[in-house]
């Protein structure tokens, strides 16, 4: 392989480029990055960057020391011919490659009637989004309304409270994050937010926005209204696959890959854009975690080069963390479809605990709030390809833990 293009200059793209060089690839390496700025890390954008603890420079991402690549900043791929491995670029050029890494990530879902950051309505995905929101939050708005109690929404709510702002969170579900955490932990998270002064409105949606040119009020589906000086729509992201229409790749809720993250001969995908089947959990999924962007990018690089061996299945135990109101929430694996949830360390009341989710006779996942050492023990036990419920519980009881 003599020429590789990495499409996407964020975490997955950079990690793929770095790993390609680490594996000994010494051909040409191009990185196409839609944004015209130094690549940056996303987790601080809902946390320290909003509160002002972190500045713009501190969130920069850099390529691994020894990685050499040609950057095309502000150039995006607009089409792909997968059979010819030919990219059409936004600067009008097109080029064929021996290998392509697709790492174009995902974009914030915008409410239908609203576009851009006009009128006091924000989304939060890019550094530009975060800088714009930060600037507004530091003007002491009377009330911030966040639509969507997902991880980003709840982290923004925490940041707002840290800034001493009044904040309401509007969530359609009966409990925030229930699919990700199950009802018990979701209830604990809801209580934690309320205890920290967040006005959490569950089981309602926004039906109308009033105020021009700046938003002033949102009408909710329960007939109530909430005043809003700043609105943040945090309702999720969708994978950036529009450019792959007609490419020949299968696109369905992301770039559909095989078990080794291969999308087609000489083409791999990694990070928020990739959807692939993993042995542990059955159905093909897309994972939006920071940790997955790195691990999957490394695996995809290895698959592309068939180095160190023939392509192997990517079968991670997904892991993410979320920092809310000074507490650290962590999840490994999946809570979804659990037959049982059991606290195995600490207590819900103390808001310091580890819990396990059972699916059939296996541990599907683990969760912790502020109980990292015990959670680490669970993560280690979950590395077992068949983490049965009894085996994991026995492992937690053993003296070494």
């Amino acid at each position: 392989m003599k020429s590789i293009a990495v499409v996407g200059g964020s975490l997955a793209g950079l990690e793929a480029a770095t790993r390609l060089r680490q594996l000994g690839y010494d051909g040409s390496l191009l990185i196409y990055s839609q944004e015209r700025r130094q690549p940056y890390d996303r987790p601080p954008l809902s946390k320290g960057l909003l509160t002002g603890v972190r500045d713009t420079a501190s969130v920069a991402l850099t390529l691994g020391e020894s990685a050499q690549a040609d950057w095309r900043m502000g150039v995006s791929a607009v089409a792909l011919d997968a059979r010819r491995r030919e990219l059409s670029l936004s600067d009008g050029s097109s080029e064929r490659f021996d290998g392509i890494v697709i790492a174009t990530g995902a974009a914030a879902i915008r409410p239908r009637a609203i576009s851009g950051r006009d009128g006091g309505i924000h989304v939060l995905r890019t550094l530009d989004d975060a800088i714009s929101l930060r600037s507004r939050l530091h003007q002491a708005p009377a009330r911030v309304v966040i639509v969507g109690a997902g991880f980003i929404g709840l982290e923004v709510a925490s940041s707002c409270r840290e800034l001493g702002l009044q904040v309401s969170v509007i969530e359609a579900r009966a409990l925030p994050l229930e699919p990700a955490l199950g009802s018990v932990v979701a209830g604990t998270v809801a209580a934690m937010h309320r205890d920290h002064g967040v006005d959490l409105r569950l089981g309602v949606t926004v039906v109308a926005a009033h105020g021009a040119p700046q938003v002033e009020r949102l009408d909710l589906s329960d007939g109530t209204s909430v005043s809003a000086d700043v609105v943040v729509y945090a309702v999720g992201v969708q994978p950036e696959t529009g450019w792959l229409v007609g490419s020949g790749l299968t696109v369905d809720g992301g770039v559909v890959c095989d078990e080794a993250c291969g999308a087609a001969p000489g083409i791999v995908a990694a990070g928020d854009v990739a959807r692939w089947p993993h042995r542990r959990y059955g159905i093909p999924r897309r994972i939006e975690h920071w940790d997955n962007a790195i691990r999957q990018a490394h695996h995809a690089a290895s698959t592309l080069l068939a180095n160190p061996g023939p392509p192997a299945g990517y079968d991670p135990v997904p892991w993410f963390w979320s920092d809310q109101h000074g507490s650290k929430l962590q999840v490994a694996g999946y809570a979804g479809g659990a037959d049982e949830f059991r606290v195995v360390h600490g207590s819900l009341e103390a808001r310091r605990f580890v819990g396990l989710y059972r699916r059939g006779d296996e541990v599907g996942g683990a969760v912790a709030i502020d109980d990292s050492k015990a959670f680490l023990a669970c993560r280690r036990l979950l590395l077992d390809p068949e983490p049965t419920w009894s085996k994991v519980l026995a492992g937690l009881d053993s003296p070494v833990n």
Partner: protein, 56 residues
């Protein structure tokens, strides 16, 4: 201080990085040998706060 106790390093390189009962990072081996290089690099790469640097 960059570290905020995510423990990703301890998963990649147990015995070199661990968490104590207060969930604080403990570096058990500040001068790992060459045989540990790959795991320590994996630990540094997995850290969400980029709190680990390898000073050869």
């Amino acid at each position: 201080m960059l570290c905020d106790g995510n423990g990703a390093c301890a998963l990649e390189a147990p015995g070199i990085f661990e968490l104590d009962d207060a969930d604080q990072l403990v570096v058990l081996e500040e001068n790992p040998g060459p045989a540990d290089r790959a795991r320590v690099e994996a630990a540094a790469g997995a850290c969400p706060k980029r709190a680990i640097s390898i000073v050869t």
